[in-house]
């Protein structure tokens, strides 16, 4: 595998080798081509953004990474090996966690239970043990509760721990969703528009949390976002998509000055 060296970011953080590599991904729905021959990589420990105008295929890309869509062509390489065709839950068990553009929490459960579902992939007590609430199941429940409480602490949602999620305001729901993804201790965290529909203050909070997560746990993050200010500030490297094609890839500065990117965002005169 090439380029496993890593690099040093502008603010002096050491980034590791390649964690995931998308090779020539194409995704078709019937005659519609959502993603066309896109390749890019994600390094360990970096914050990687995917941007692009509406309908560019960003969310489809994230769905390919999380296994919800199977690419029509191309390969996904993860942790140095080619990923075979997998069900989404198998991908999650390999350490890929994600949040959703439209909040996808379990509304009937409390915040604590929602975050605990993030630990599902780490719990394997037998049904019998769970039924009698003895042995492995009980130990597991307490061990994982401790891990979950650390995440709850980190994201400052202690006060709503036992509140049913349905009663929470939007901004907090987004945070609970991040907590659920973090509880899984993912090696790759996918964030689908983490700031969508938030006010400035909430965006600042969320940005802080994303940076803190990356800093404290060293989690690799791949995010989609529309707010350019946020993307340029947060991310180490950016992929730019337009009409299902990759039109730019590089550091925020490189991308910002790329003529193709400027054309895609501002429009270009057709003569």
């Amino acid at each position: 595998m090439k380029d496993t060296e890593g690099y040093v970011t502008a603010d002096g953080r050491q980034i590791g080798g390649t964690l995931m590599e998308m090779k020539n991904i194409t995704l078709r729905f019937g005659g519609v081509v959502a993603i066309k021959d896109i390749s890019f990589d994600v390094h360990e420990g970096e914050i990687r953004a995917i941007i692009g105008p509406n309908g560019a295929g960003k969310s489809s890309m994230l769905n390919v990474i999380s296994g919800f869509y199977t690419p029509s062509e191309g390969e996904v390489w993860y942790q140095g090996a080619k990923r075979p065709q997998m069900k989404p839950y198998e991908v999650a068990r390999m350490g890929v966690a994600r949040t959703f553009q439209n909040i996808a929490l379990f509304e009937g459960m409390t915040v604590l239970d929602n975050v605990m579902t993030g630990r599902l992939t780490h719990m394997n007590a037998s049904v019998l043990s769970q039924a009698i609430w003895w042995g492995r199941a009980r130990e597991e429940e307490i061990e994982n509760r401790e891990k979950v409480e650390r995440v709850i602490d980190f994201l400052e949602i202690q006060h709503i721990r036992k509140t049913p999620v349905g009663r929470l305001p939007y901004g907090l729901k987004k945070r609970v969703e991040l907590a659920r993804a973090l509880a899984a201790e993912p090696s790759l965290l996918l964030l689908d528009e983490p700031m969508a529909g938030m006010n400035v203050e909430e965006k600042e909070d969320m940005s802080r949390f994303i940076l803190d997560v990356n800093d404290e746990f060293g989690t690799t993050i791949c995010l989609i976002e529309h707010d350019m200010g946020v993307v340029m500030d947060l991310s180490d490297r950016v992929v730019v998509m337009d009409y299902g094609k990759k039109i730019g890839d590089g550091t925020p500065d490189e991308v910002r000055n790329d003529q193709a990117v400027i054309d895609a965002y501002l429009g270009v005169a057709h003569d």
Partner: protein, 358 residues
């Protein structure tokens, strides 16, 4: 005031995750247990045993099974009665093929037969959901009742086509059949229901319970965070059908004494679904509250006019019962979709913070 939780501090996650984090809940349950285990059986008349105590417990158990599937895992089922039938016929065959078998063991074993059949009829749930799944389980309902009628081996080629509960003993006392006393049967039912309830509470508050609720609330998100939906749904079908099957065995062996295939027809399925809805989907307590209401209402309606000296025909009582149950269901679906259990939860919440409004 009675429910004030001030001063009850938790210093470990273990304490916080205990069965009764609030002390008053444990006390209340203790009082109910004393009534159920000591006061009721020693004061109840034969009539009370046969019309209230035993059927309430059996219906609550059947509803609990349905609730695991519908209330927790979110898979609508209309085949409950048929799965009860499987449990009852399995128990009958076990006890007639192996008459030396302990009836309580046979009842527990018969649940496995219904669990197996439940899983088979649960397979469509992997592709379809909601009303469409309800129709698929309806197929189970019709097919199984037809099978009970046509497969003569199931009822040992009786001329009547019905199954008769044999007299069996445990520790020298008659447990099933015409010779068994109501009190013995009540204790057996109560014991089994208590054990099953504890197991259900544990299952629904643990990892499996969270898996089911996630499947119910948003299946796509559930799959993307690592839940194998197939496993989650089929385990729900298996456990639900097991409980329903045991309830079916109890229904015939501890209460009815004999059964024809049409006993397990769709009205019984609906009755149990009503108990689950009125009691509260997604709640264990609700099954008991719903069963008390649905089983108790006709009894009260029968006794009340006599007690008040109003002459009223039994046909009218029956019609009144249907009308009242019907309007209660409409009422609950509109006012409180989460049923009696939610009502109790609200009262409890208010009591805890009383006299403050928030």
């Amino acid at each position: 005031m009675l429910y004030r939780t001030a001063g009850q501090f938790k210093t470990s996650y273990k304490a916080d995750q205990a069965l009764f984090p609030v002390r008053q809940d444990a006390i209340l349950l203790g009082i109910i247990m004393v009534f159920a285990w000591v006061i009721f059986p020693f004061t109840a008349s034969e009539f009370a045993f046969q019309t209230m105590l035993i059927p309430v417990l059996i219906y609550a158990l059947a509803s609990m099974g349905l609730n695991i599937l519908t209330g927790y895992a979110g898979q609508l089922s209309l085949g409950t009665a048929a799965f009860m039938g499987v449990g009852a016929y399995a128990c009958y065959k076990l006890l007639t093929i192996m008459p030396w078998m302990n009836p309580v063991v046979a009842i527990f074993l018969s649940g496995f037969f219904s669990a197996g059949i439940g899983v088979v009829f649960g397979i469509p749930s992997l592709r379809i959901k909601g009303f469409y799944l309800a129709i698929a389980t309806l197929a189970a309902q019709f097919f199984l009742v037809w099978l009970f009628e046509k497969w003569a081996w199931l009822y040992n080629y009786n001329a009547s086509g019905a199954i008769q509960v044999p007299n069996t003993t445990t520790l020298g006392t008659y447990v099933t059949g015409p010779l068994a006393s109501s009190m013995t049967q009540y204790y057996v039912v109560l014991g089994i229901v208590t054990v099953m309830t504890i197991l259900c509470i544990n299952l629904t508050r643990g990892n499996l319970g969270r898996m089911w609720k996630a499947t119910r609330d948003m299946d796509i998100a559930a799959e993307l965070i690592g839940i194998n939906l197939m496993k989650s749904k089929l385990i729900a079908f298996a456990i639900s059908s097991y409980i329903v099957g045991v309830a079916g065995a109890l229904y015939v062996f501890m209460w009815k004494g004999a059964a024809e295939p049409n006993l397990f027809d769709i009205p019984l399925s609906f009755e149990i679904l009503f108990i689950a809805i009125i009691g509260g989907l997604g709640s264990i307590l609700g099954n008991f509250l719903g069963a008390i209401l649905i089983v108790g209402l006709p009894v009260v309606l029968n006794l009340l006019p006599d007690a008040l000296g109003i002459p009223i025909s039994s046909a009218l009582v029956e019609h009144l019962n249907i009308m009242i149950v019907g309007s209660l269901i409409v009422f609950f679906l509109i006012i409180e979709p989460h049923g009696l259990a939610r009502l109790w939860a609200l009262i409890r919440e208010k009591l805890i913070i009383w006299p403050f409004p928030h």
